[in-house]
């Protein structure tokens, strides 16, 4: 079994190396054949491991020693349990689908082999992240997925927007990683180890220890550690205020928007916090912070999605908002619900993105929904699968998103950490907004009159099977994944992995009321979220299918509000002024004034000038006339004699 563990990350790595280093020799077909088979092998291995874990065979062990320094050992190792096994299946499954889809999507691209190499490399990195048994390797995977994300956003490197977006993504992520690394350093300092098991075992003993970060104040170290770690999650999982990179990341090819920027990488932050539940549970303050940040992201990013016209950007903002849901769940100590939503979201968001990609291919790389419409007649499979995903996203009972989202909302309802009221309002109201923007997308794209030009219209057709097959396969869990809510969220599936303190345990209360999938659906009909969702779908239908003139009127009437949303609350402008321009101004000032004027100008060249100046003075005494020298000698002798005599 341990060899199988190694196979899971190493197979995609091998594929990445082969396609990346030898891509030009083995050609396009062999590149995708090799990488897909190796990812498939990784997927099969993940399934075998999953069932092995279900039998109770978990694993925690080291692969090799990375470094020993002082009293600390840094290891590379695997922790295989219910949480990592679940993540491995999700990652390898979505990755496999995206690999297949890529054959169709990138068919005409010159960088075909490179693309396969990157997404296989991503699969490797993500596997290293989720399978890690220690913080160091977690950080490895964490930054490695960031690297691949950087490479893939900038995949079309001649586009100015793409190479701006990828740098922005990397740097914003680095801000998160900055906090994350400090958190890891604190862990090492107080626990003397970076091994999860060792740290979690000791955590309860450290509950009362404090640190004076600012002299005179006193902070619980667990709170400081958790908040620093969460800063890392904010970067990777694009939580406010570090969310700015994710919408821009849509500059990358659509398959990676689905794989990296929706289904897997961006959920790494959620995964990490769930993994660290034994730490986070000990800090109510940190949970509060997570709740509020998650709440803000959920609501405010969903609102932005309503005014976007670029089909991928709608889905991107939807991703932000859904990540907010997961974060709120974490803050409410409903870790299992967060992971469950992570899973259902991976499926339905992958369908939405890959479907959007299918539309984009058909539209000849036009992404503006204002130029679409009526596509359902031309692309029935894409339409059907996206419609299912939209229902799941809007939380319609029966579809996967409903179960996971409802569990989160109810858990927040029962939670009692500070800030929960605000978060509850956010997640509840966002149900309406989610249904609105999701179905706005569906109606604008697939319904109504066709608004594209004649040329495009003439060429409209359904995408090839390599594109639609992944959509259809992914549509199955989009519907059905939710039905497993009983064992996964309310059951004891995660009992060994996730720790929840009794006073935070909202999930347990929910579980007591849980009467099965059918019961949950029937119960939902009498609750607010269901009706909010219906209202959202209805509003979208009315505004974007029946009275399509109204949105324009609203836009004109509430110009200020519209601009605020359209410009994403001006956060990008603020950051680019404050940080990008600020750093450059400061750098220039330090260079021109500090280095050139003071150090070089005054001290270095000043010393040289002082030497030259004194030399020019002293030089005057070197006249070369004997009588000058003789006179000086006489004066000297006179002075010496005087001093000697007295």
């Amino acid at each position: 079994m341990q060899k199988l563990y190694l196979l899971v990350p190493l197979a995609p790595l091998l594929g990445a190396l082969l396609a990346g280093l030898f891509g030009r020799y083995i050609g396009r077909n062999w590149s995708h054949r090799i990488t897909i088979s190796l990812v498939f092998a990784s997927f099969l291995a993940s399934i075998v491991i999953f069932f092995d874990v279900l039998d109770g065979n978990t694993f925690n062990g080291s692969v090799y020693t990375w470094l020993i320094s002082g009293d600390t050992r840094f290891e590379v190792g695997f922790l295989i349990d219910q949480l990592s096994a679940t993540m491995m299946i999700v990652v390898s499954f979505v990755s496999l689908m995206v690999h297949i889809y890529t054959i169709g999507y990138m068919h005409d691209d010159a960088g075909y082999q490179r693309f396969f190499s990157y997404i296989s490399l991503f699969t490797f990195s993500m596997m290293m992240l989720v399978m890690s048994n220690n913080f160091l390797q977690l950080f490895f995977g964490w930054e490695a997925v960031g690297l691949v994300s950087y490479l893939l956003i900038g995949f079309w490197y001649t586009r100015p927007t793409a190479i701006y977006a990828n740098m922005k993504a990397f740097l914003v992520n680095r801000v998160g990683d900055f906090g994350f690394l400090l958190g890891i350093a604190m862990v090492l300092m107080y626990f003397g180890s970076l091994d999860y098991a060792t740290v979690f075992l000791q955590a309860p003993e450290k509950v009362d220890e404090t640190i004076a970060i600012i002299p005179g104040t006193s902070w619980l170290i667990i709170t400081v550690i958790c908040i620093l770690l969460f800063v890392g999650a904010m970067g990777k999982s694009a939580q406010f205020p570090l969310h700015v990179w994710l919408p821009d990341s849509m500059e990358g090819p659509t398959p990676i928007s689905a794989l990296i920027h929706a289904a897997t990488m961006v959920t790494a932050g959620i995964f990490m916090v769930a993994r660290m539940s034994p730490l986070f549970e000990l800090s109510e303050t940190a949970l509060s912070v997570i709740l509020v940040i998650g709440g803000i992201t959920t609501l405010f990013m969903a609102l932005v999605a309503v005014v976007q016209n670029d089909i991928k950007r709608v889905v991107a903002y939807s991703t932000l908002s859904q990540l907010g849901y997961m974060t709120v769940a974490l803050g409410a100590s409903a870790y299992s619900a967060a992971i469950f939503h992570l899973m259902t979201h991976a499926f339905f968001k992958a369908v939405l993105f890959l479907g959007a990609g299918s539309v984009i291919i058909a539209m000849h790389h036009e992404q503006d929904m204002q130029k679409m419409g009526g596509l359902r007649r031309y692309m029935p499979i894409t339409y059907a699968t996206m419609f299912i995903a939209a229902l799941a996203s809007a939380g319609v009972p029966g579809f996967s998103g409903f179960f996971s989202k409802d569990a989160i909302i109810e858990a927040v309802h029962y939670a009692n950490v500070p800030g929960v009221g605000f978060a509850y309002f956010c997640v509840l109201f966002t149900v309406f907004v989610t249904a609105l923007y999701t179905f706005r997308l569906i109606f604008m794209t697939f319904h109504g009159a066709t608004r594209m030009d004649e040329h495009t219209k003439g060429h409209l057709h359904e995408s090839p099977w390599v594109v639609t097959l992944p959509l259809v396969i992914l549509a199955i869990p989009t519907v059905a994944a939710g039905w497993f809510i009983g064992p996964i969220v309310f059951g004891d599936y995660f009992n060994q992995v996730i720790q929840v303190l009794p006073q935070h345990n909202a999930i347990e209360r929910l579980g007591a009321e849980f009467t099965g999938v059918g019961g949950m659906m029937i119960h939902a009909l009498s609750t607010l979220p269901f009706w909010l969702s219906v209202a959202g779908i209805f509003t979208a239908w009315y505004l974007y299918n029946v009275r399509t003139d109204i949105p324009e009127k609203i836009r004109l009437r509430f110009g200020f509000l519209y601009n605020l949303l359209d410009r994403k609350y001006y956060i990008d402008e603020l950051y680019s002024w404050l940080f990008a321009k600020g750093a450059r101004t400061l750098g220039t000032a330090l260079w021109k004034f500090g280095d050139i004027k003071i150090i070089d100008g005054f001290f270095v060249n000043g010393t040289a000038r002082a030497v030259a100046f004194s030399a020019s003075l002293v030089r005057r005494y070197q006249t070369g006339y004997i009588y000058h020298y003789a006179f000086t000698m006489i004066v000297g002798i006179f002075i010496i004699l005087t001093l000697w005599l007295y």
């Binding site: 090799y64 020693t65 990375w66 470094l67 020993i68 320094s69 002082g70 600390t72 160091l136 950080f139 490895f140 930054e143 490695a144 690297l147 950087y150 490479l151 900038g154 490197y157 001649t158 100015p160 190479i163 701006y164 740098m167 990397f170 740097l171 680095r174 801000v175 990683d177 900055f178 690394l181 400090l182 890891i184 350093a185 604190m186 090492l188 300092m189 640190i211 970060i213 750093a583 450059r584 400061l586 750098g587 220039t588 330090l590 260079w591 500090g594 280095d595 150090i599 070089d600 001290f603 270095v604």
Partner: protein, 494 residues
């Protein structure tokens, strides 16, 4: 006592002998034989150094491969060399970089080839001598001698402003080392007539003289590292130096300063080191933050990398003055890793400069379209420069950050800003140079790297990745020595 083969002397003198042989080939009519002899000498130099690693006893913290010959009996000056876990990795780094530099200058240098190649071989042997010397006078001779080849390399094969840069380099470093000589003379007197560095480690010295000795050493070493605020010679020297000169300067010569702190300042003046640690840490952190901001706005690629070197070396001095094992080992790892990465970065700029004769970022753009293989290498080294895990650039910074938080949260906080700054200046430069559409007709003419360039970059790439993925062997050889050093430093000598 049985006869032992003087491997260490071989490592020091073999490159010097070859250097002289190369010089003997004379003018450029024999340029090719000069190149071949230099390469053979450099490679033999590296091979000769391998036993230093393979026969090294990492369980021991004392000097190994020791050779002792009387030089000037009257002043008790000896030819006394030996290595421990601090100097051995640095000697290997030096012997590793030399052949790469020779190959990097292969076709590029057309004038005075024998002198150019000879200078690098001489430099290589001299630097090995610095790292191996256990006698203060021998050390001082090698230390000052190392200035001369570099002075010539910058002054003869440098850019338009080479004379200013060469003189600035020379005077800056010479001034620093004069005080070191005075410190040696004082130590000679106090120790009752010994120039043995190991004797100095045992000397009891009151605090005030210790501080003075520390300051005297500080000036010598801080200039070399270079630490803020005595760093301004480095950007000028780098900008004017030929590619090979920049590589050796960044990869090897800067390490002399770091080595000096470990060999002299910390063990000879431990109380002063503790007393002044806060100041040293402050200077190091200024280097990390202030210099990074300056690096961000540079328009000249070499200047940018030079400033980034200063920022990265800030981690070295920061690690030293935390006085714990992980900090000092991290600083050592950072020195070796910086040797690979900065060397590779300067080589990458050299590749571009050889083609377009410009170092200005603005003259490039879209290079990836014409040089995809080069772009891939450059990407790897840029990421390593930004401290990406999995590359060697991460290891040292990670260790030093882990160590610094134990001393003070804010030290770690400021040090960790390198995560953001390092990525900012490196990737912004990369974006403007490599990405984008082809920016000019000149870029349109670029050819991808030759086999020769590929070989150099590939070797460095392997080194960078290997050290990032498996740093264990690198630190393994240092443990005993650094533990020994730490014990020494924690005992007061007042």
């Amino acid at each position: 006592m049985s006869f032992e083969f003087p491997i260490l002397s071989l490592v020091i003198w073999l490159p010097i002998v070859f250097g002289i042989a190369v010089l003997a080939t004379g003018n450029d009519r024999n340029a090719n034989s000069a190149r071949v002899i230099s390469l053979i000498g450099a490679i033999l130099g590296f091979i000769a150094a391998i036993p230093l690693y393979s026969n090294f006893n990492s369980a021991s913290g004392t000097m190994q491969f020791v050779e002792h010959l009387v030089w000037f009996e009257r002043f008790n000056v000896n030819y006394h060399v030996g290595i421990d876990g601090i100097s051995m990795p640095l000697i290997l780094l030096n012997c590793f970089i030399t052949p790469l530099v020779i190959v990097a200058g292969w076709e590029v240098i057309k004038d005075r080839v024998s002198q150019y190649m000879g200078a690098f071989l001489l430099m290589s042997g001299i630097v090995n001598g610095v790292f191996a010397s256990l006698d203060a006078i021998l050390f001082y001779v090698f230390w000052e001698a190392s200035l001369i080849p570099m002075f010539l390399i910058i002054g003869i094969w440098g850019g338009p402003n080479r004379v200013y840069a060469a003189i600035k380099f020379f005077l800056y470093t010479l001034l620093g080392s004069l005080l070191m000589l005075i410190a040696f003379i004082y130590l000679y007197q106090t120790s009752g007539g010994s120039f043995s560095i190991q004797d100095y480690h045992q000397l009891a010295i009151p605090l005030t003289p210790q501080i003075l000795i520390f300051v005297a050493f500080l000036l010598a070493f801080a200039v070399k590292v270079p630490m803020w605020p005595v760093h301004t010679w480095l950007p000028d020297a780098h900008v004017e130096a030929p590619t090979g000169g920049s590589v050796v300067l960044a990869a090897i010569l800067l390490k002399l300063g770091g080595y000096g702190f470990l060999r002299f300042s910390l063990p000879i003046a431990p109380d002063a080191s503790h007393y002044l640690a806060d100041m040293m840490i402050a200077l190091s952190l200024i280097a990390v933050v202030y210099i990074s901001l300056i690096a961000l706005i540079q328009a000249d690629m070499k200047k940018l990398i030079a400033y980034s070197s200063v920022a990265h070396m800030g981690f070295v001095t920061l690690g030293f003055f935390l006085f714990n094992a992980i900090g000092i080992e991290g600083a050592m790892v950072q020195m070796i890793s910086h040797g690979f990465i900065s060397g590779a970065m300067f080589l990458c700029v050299g590749v571009l400069y050889d083609r377009l004769h410009s170092r200005q970022i603005a003259d490039y753009g879209g290079v990836v379209n014409k040089m995809p293989i080069f772009a891939a290498f450059f990407m790897l080294f840029a990421m390593a420069n930004a401290g990406l895990p999995g590359t060697s650039g991460f290891v040292g910074e990670f260790m030093v950050i882990m160590a610094s938080i134990k001393t003070n949260f804010w030290y770690a906080f400021l040090a960790a800003t390198t995560l953001i700054f390092g990525a900012s200046y490196t990737l912004w430069m990369y974006k403007r140079v490599i990405f984008g559409a082809v920016a000019s007709p000149a870029v349109q003419q670029l050819n991808d790297i030759s086999k020769r360039e590929f070989a150099i970059l590939a070797i460095l790439a392997i080194a960078v990745l290997w050290m990032g993925l498996y740093p264990y062997p690198v630190t393994e050889v240092m443990h005993a020595t650094i533990d020994h050093l730490l014990v020494h430093v924690s005992n007061s000598k007042l």
